[in-house]
């Protein structure tokens, strides 16, 4: 492919690509994102290629591994164009049927469609599935349409047209004004207005400036940035180049965590292609603007998602945050003005340029414009990535899109904002999702993790889990974070183990206050959030642990005991056989009893006891009933009496 040297040439190339494509030709788009690949999408793609060849359809059908469309719960996901038929949980053995039925006969394979869990109603198209229907997929929507390794696919959906528009039809001032007008706020956590950040760097006198993509996504359960970088890397590069042009930068970096090998691979391929086509390098599209991008792989430190730590790591030193009272858009990488934005923030930029700030601001609330991608995980029916208009309520995300809580359990809380975020209780489910709204509720937007918890989740344990994560990820440089978290975790461990004391809650609050006020970077300052928000909304659970030595969610091992109700036990031997500690005493027609001394509280008996018996119970905060006397344990069955 020769370089493209002008906007006219770009349009010519685009037309040429489109002319080679017949929109009526069937195309099987199979998600090749990390989630679907893990559930076997690679085998499905191979099976399609083999089957299509076998049936002699190679020239009549396209097969494509695409970016992640988000419905990971039901992967591997595929969409067949032009009809846009959506099949879920496809296995290689389904492939011959799909080819002969859907491709050849134009018939829908009913059993692979989405079926509503309650009504059983089938949905043929992606847009009919409730999971998708209630989303606003401005960014993620493109993922299923393109092979992320193909620049032609990106060009076919109007790719790099925003870059061309910026370079030839807009001044850098106009671009800045448009981004400012859109009120795009950082999608990585802080929510700082991107336009203002850009403006600061642009106005800084130093002639050398940098732009960086922050793809060091490390929140447990979050994978928004991974899906974008894996699924549509060119859109992020396009945003980055536009940002560089706006502030006058000629060198950029993609800082991506090495735990994302597919993202690293795809973004490297995209950079090579963009260089070859003339979207990167010298004299981009003949405009005279030069810009190059390098990929830097993080070495596995959560704290490197913090801007100053990321820049320190990029400079080749240990990734520790540095004290900053001058913003990094003025003094950043190697002391130069540096604009660092998150993957999703950059992905929004080409859309804002192409469709305009007015289009962008029609989505969202007063303070939070546009859409936001969340990774909806935990105790939720539809796990996956969802992109919604800001301002949607938590309830709509969890129930309309997420399909509610599985197993008939009751919703308890949703944790937003990653390990530095907070837990939001049921009474606040009508909360509108936005930066300021979530912060007011004691949580934060963060990068968009959303972990749903049901009644079986202990909130003390949740706070402990996140603190445990952060204590491992703290760099250890400053006292309030390193030592404060060490003590907070000790106290939380004690509380969860039934060794909590009067005054522990107050001490936790005091330690949290010092960490919030005095820590060096955002990791330490926000580390107490899960603790503080659970204390705010679930204080009674902490008190029950401390005062009554009771875990209300029946989850903390040291505070619960398993007991077999002698009236319900049918002596079926299932728990007896499966108990790994051989703690269940009993036999055929002998009511089972748990030896509390031997019991390791693994919960196996509770899980395997047939629901129609429901004989195994969890007890907390009260003594375990004494085992029934040996001579009363024999079950006399009616059938045997006859």
């Amino acid at each position: 492919m020769p370089r493209i040297n002008s906007p006219e040439e770009l349009e010519k190339v685009r037309q040429e690509i489109l002319s080679r494509r017949d929109p009526s030709k069937p195309c099987i788009s199979i998600c090749a994102g990390a989630g679907c690949l893990a559930s076997g999408a690679g085998e499905v793609i191979a099976a399609f290629k083999a089957e299509i060849e076998k049936q002699g359809l190679t020239t009549e059908v396209n097969t494509k591994g695409t970016g992640c469309p988000g419905f990971c719960e039901r992967g591997p996901v595929l969409v067949i164009y032009p009809e846009e038929i959506c099949y879920l949980q496809v296995k290689p053995e389904d492939v011959p049927e799909i080819v002969s039925q859907t491709i050849k006969e134009k018939k829908v394979v009913d059993r692979l469609l989405y079926a509503d869990p309650t009504t059983g109603e089938k949905a043929t198209h992606e847009s009919d599935i409730p999971f998708y229907k209630n989303q606003e997929r401005n960014i993620l929507g493109s993922n299923i349409k393109i092979d992320p390794k193909s620049i032609e696919d990106y060009l076919a959906i109007d790719g790099y047209s925003a870059l061309s528009k910026v370079l030839f039809l807009m001044t850098s001032e106009q671009v800045l004004e448009e981004v400012k007008k859109s009120n795009l706020r950082g999608r990585g956590g802080g929510g700082f207005p991107a336009g203002r950040k850009w403006e600061g760097s642009r106005n800084a006198p130093d002639p050398i400036k940098y732009v960086i993509v922050n793809a060091d996504e490390g929140d447990p359960g979050a994978f928004m940035d991974r899906a974008l970088l894996e699924g549509n890397p060119h859109s992020i590069l396009e945003g980055l180049i536009i940002g560089a042009y706006t502030i006058g930068s000629h060198e950029g970096y993609v800082y991506v965590r090495q735990e994302y090998p597919l993202a690293v691979e795809n973004v490297n391929i995209a950079i090579r292609q963009a260089e070859e086509y003339g979207f990167l390098g010298r004299n981009i599209l003949g405009s005279g603007f030069d810009f190059t991008v390098k990929v830097h792989q993080g070495a596995g430190a959560f704290v490197c998602g913090e801007s100053t730590a990321l820049m320190t790591a990029l400079e080749g030193r240990a990734g520790e945050p540095r004290p900053k009272y001058v913003r990094s858009n003025i003094v950043g990488l190697w002391g130069k003005p540096t604009v660092l934005n998150n993957v999703e923030t950059w992905a929004n930029v080409p859309l804002i340029i192409n469709k305009g700030a007015d289009w962008f601001t029609q989505f969202g609330t007063e303070g939070s414009k546009g859409t936001k991608i969340f990774s909806l995980v935990g105790k939720i029916t539809n796990t996956g990535l969802v992109e919604v208009s800001m301002g949607i309520t938590l309830k709509d995300i969890i129930y309309k899109i997420g399909g509610g809580i599985p197993g008939g359990k009751r919703f308890k809380a949703v944790q937003t904002g990653g390990p530095s975020g907070g837990c939001i209780p049921e009474k606040l489910l009508d909360l509108k999702v936005g930066y300021d709204e979530l912060t007011k509720a004691g949580s934060m937007m963060g990068s968009g993790g959303m972990i749903v918890m049901d009644e079986d989740t202990c909130m003390v344990d949740v706070a402990r889990y996140f603190l445990n994560f952060l204590i491992d990820e703290s760099c250890g440089k400053c006292t309030p974070c390193r030592e404060g978290m060490r003590q907070m975790l000790k106290i939380l461990n004690n509380i969860a183990e039934g060794k909590g004391r009067e005054g522990d809650i107050e001490l936790l609050e005091e330690l949290a206050e010092v960490a919030v006020d005095a820590s060096l970077c955002a990791l330490g300052k926000s580390a107490p959030n899960p603790l503080l928000s659970t204390l705010r909304y679930f204080r009674d659970e902490y008190e029950a642990h401390i005062k009554e030595k009771r875990c209300p969610a029946l989850s903390c091992k040291e505070l619960i005991a398993y007991h077999i109700d002698p009236d319900k036990c049918q002596a079926c031997m299932i728990c007896l056989k499966q108990c790994p500690a051989e703690a269940v005493i009993g036999g055929k027609n002998r009511i089972h009893v748990i030896d509390q001394e031997k019991c390791t509280k693994c919960g196996t008996c509770f899980e395997v006891c047939p629901p129609r018996f429901g004989a195994v119970q969890k007890i907390s905060g009260e003594p375990v009933p004494a085992p029934i006397p040996e001579d009363a344990r024999t079950i006399v069955r009616k059938s045997k009496e006859k």
């Binding site: 004290p323 703290s474 250890g476 309030p480």
Partner: protein, 201 residues
């Protein structure tokens, strides 16, 4: 250098542009406690004991004075109920590791810090990084460094460099506010540099 006027604890203080609040305060005879600060070293902002309140754009912010740059008409308070509370807690957290360090004991008296508030974990090192930074920035040897992160972070001498450089230097020893540094060196010596015992030249 432009002269900057600011107010620290109600006192008018003259400073030069580029100075930190800590430097300005000390030049005016106002004392702010520090543990990780050293005149010859780049500001580090690790121990957080030099924390102060500043008034910025109508609001009060808590910042560390060893890093925060002076600004015209800045209002600084080096003591307040909140500042004292934070310093007390920081001292109590550090005293769990180095209960006998004089520097900590003196400050503990001033701020009413209880050295027994937290369970003792005698690691001695309070992670001020003075030895690490002095060796890197002044001596340019990097014979001692931090290893690991978070609560597992500790100082460690790099035997290959230490065996060459440390015996005739040891300039970091008097910098250490606790006994940790010397202990770490002795340990390194015993484990990796036995020849130094027999041949101290």
């Amino acid at each position: 250098m432009r002269e900057i006027l600011l107010q620290i604890d109600g006192k008018k203080v003259k400073a030069r542009e580029g100075m930190t609040v800590l430097e300005a305060a000390r030049s005016a005879g106002i004392s702010i406690p520090t543990l990780c600060h050293h005149e010859k070293l780049e500001p580090y902002g690790g121990c957080r004991i030099c924390i102060v309140e500043v008034e910025v754009r109508g609001g009060t912010q808590i910042v560390v004075s060893c890093v925060y740059p002076v600004e015209q008409n800045l209002v600084v308070r080096t003591r307040s109920e909140k500042i004292d509370r934070i310093r007390k807690m920081i001292l109590e957290l550090l005293l769990a590791h180095a209960p006998d360090a004089f520097a900590l004991q003196d400050l503990a008296k001033e701020y009413g810090a209880d050295k027994d508030r937290f369970e003792k974990e005698a690691s001695f090192c309070i992670h001020c990084g003075l030895c690490v930074r002095y060796c890197a920035e002044v001596k340019k040897k990097n014979a001692v460094g931090f290893v690991d992160r978070g609560t597992r972070r500790e100082i460690s001498f790099i035997p290959e460099i230490a065996s060459r450089e440390c015996w005739n230097c040891k300039e970091c020893f008097p910098l250490c506010p606790t006994e940790a540094l010397q202990a770490a060196f002795v340990l390194t010596q015993a484990l990796f540099l036995p020849h130094l015992h027999s041949n101290p030249s």
